[in-house]
């Protein structure tokens, strides 16, 4: 079943065209990694899917419906997002970060919301820190709470926007481990990442973006093992040879 479909997606900032013509179909339960160099439009594409950026052209469909016709709040609750800079609410504890949105957006009762939040906080291994404030947490811990926050909304899809790029090398592993465990849970995920080993391990499909289009896509074995396009080969060889 098709979960998210991008048709001829375009996005420009003023005269600067970031996305030229992006076409992509994501099936339910699929885990997709998006790779490519900086400025290739990976993050912009992700932000368009969540409508944090208004697309300049093309259509984005969620379960066959144009997302611009959907209730934005409801749609975003179903399509969660995890940011490079975490974006936890600084005025709330870790637990409250996961509880408040459930109450305000989904209309859940506090008891229920807390139960759900604690469940997911446990899942990301952060139970010891439910009452910590974001400023007291390390980057990796913040990101794990951010993932728990997204999960607490019981989304169908989670978009990961370079979830480990702002982390110290030591903390990357703990966050990737959490994402890996989610990949097996049947959640639909689109992960923009620079972690090639991770992309190779968890994805059902890898997308290589360049210059505002999807240049190549395929299974990790195909894309990493036998890339067709010269540009893909060049990009990968730079990563593999350091």
């Amino acid at each position: 079943m098709k979960e998210i479909v991008l048709e001829h997606l375009e996005k420009s900032f003023g005269d600067h065209k970031v996305l030229l013509d992006v076409n992509l179909t994501v099936d339910k339960g699929e885990v997709i990694s998006v790779i490519g160099s900086s400025g290739s439009g990976k993050s912009t594409m992700l932000r368009c899917i969540n409508l944090l950026e208004e697309p300049s052209g093309g259509v984005i469909r969620y379960k066959d419906e144009d997302i611009r016709k959907l209730n934005l709040s409801k749609y975003r609750a179903e399509v969660g997002m995890v940011f490079q800079q975490f974006n936890l609410f600084d005025n709330m504890t870790a637990l409250e970060n996961c509880v408040k949105p459930q109450i305000k957006v989904l209309g859940r009762k506090r008891d229920e919301a807390e139960k759900i939040a604690r469940e997911f906080i446990e899942k990301v291994g952060m139970t010891a820190f439910v009452n910590a404030r974001p400023r007291q947490l390390s980057g990796g811990q913040k990101q794990r709470i951010a993932i728990a926050r997204a999960l607490s909304m019981n989304p169908e899809v989670i978009l990961f926007d370079e979830p480990t790029s702002a982390l110290d090398p030591e903390m990357v592993g703990e966050v990737l481990d959490v994402i890996k465990s989610l990949a097996k849970s049947g959640l639909t995920m689109i992960v923009v990442t620079h972690e090639m080993a991770f992309a190779r391990e968890v994805s059902d499909r890898v997308i290589f973006m360049d210059g505002g289009v999807v240049l190549e896509e395929g299974t990790p074995e195909k894309l990493f093992g036998n890339p067709k396009m010269p540009r893909t080969r060049e990009f990968l060889s730079r990563f593999l040879n350091g």
Partner: protein, 255 residues
């Protein structure tokens, strides 16, 4: 020595006047500051809200923004004493000489004057909040209003508290200009006392000290409040990254 005796005599004789003046000054400046803050929050939120895609709403929003801008410029650009006269006597002019009741009039004038300053303070506070806070809120489905209400405004309030207490102190002093319309605040009361005893220097010395006591106490109280909002200082620093069981908890001693 006679000076101190005279001071003592004034205090003894006129303390009901002085107390009443202090009460009025605090009442008007407190309500004025709070109301001004509310005006500032409303205008600040309206002005930082992105324009709607709906054409009609966008036009209305732009007009409202324009009105707010004019309001701010006028009330920041003219003296409160003059504003008081214009509003008070303007009302009388338009209502066949019937004047506004004094206390509400005083509160109204201080409120809208403070609101003009607060509008800019709040707007600055909202702009200074990281865009990521909004995006985090949007990403879980919150509307712009919900993001403002539950995520941004609480952080703004904490950040602007020093400016708000500054406005409060200014208001305590500046309510003295309301004597021009006859509001019985502390400065006005001083005039009344002098009318009876003719001891100008002694009376104003007392009033001067009283103003200082008021502003100083308010500053101290709000400073305490600020500290409380900033949270405890002895929070736990969380050390290790992956294994919660291996966390290093460093409890700082409360200072």
């Amino acid at each position: 020595m006679t000076f101190f005796i005279q001071i003592w005599e004034i205090l003894k004789e006129f303390y009901p006047f002085l107390l009443k003046g202090i009460g009025m000054t605090l009442l008007i400046s407190l309500i004025g500051t709070v109301a001004g803050l509310v005006i500032g929050l409303l205008t600040g939120i309206i002005r930082t809200t992105p324009f709607s895609k709906n054409k009609l709403l966008r036009v209305i929003h732009k007009i409202v923004n324009g009105i707010i801008a004019v309001y701010i410029e006028i009330f920041r650009g003219t003296p409160m004493m003059v504003q008081a006269m214009v509003i008070f006597w303007g009302y009388a002019f338009m209502n066949d000489g019937q004047t506004l009741p004094l206390i509400p009039a005083g509160i109204f004038i201080v409120s809208i004057n403070t609101g003009a300053y607060m509008a800019e303070i709040v707007r600055g506070g909202i702009i200074s909040i990281d865009k990521g806070q909004f995006e985090g809120a949007y990403s879980v489905g919150m509307t712009h209003w919900q993001a403002m209400l539950y995520v941004v405004v609480p952080q703004v309030m904490r950040n602007i508290l020093p400016s708000v207490s500054n406005e409060f102190v200014i208001n305590i002093k500046d309510t003295s200009v309301l004597n021009v319309i006859g509001v019985a605040e502390l400065y006005f009361m001083a005039g009344k006392i002098i009318y009876i005893n003719l001891e100008i220097f002694q009376t104003y010395t007392i009033v001067c000290v009283l103003y200082f006591i008021m502003t100083f106490s308010v500053t101290r109280i709000l400073r305490l409040f600020e500290k409380k909002l900033n949270g405890r200082e002895n929070y736990t620093i969380c050390g290790s990254q992956s294994d919660p069981a291996a966390e290093i908890h460093i409890k700082e001693e409360a200072k």
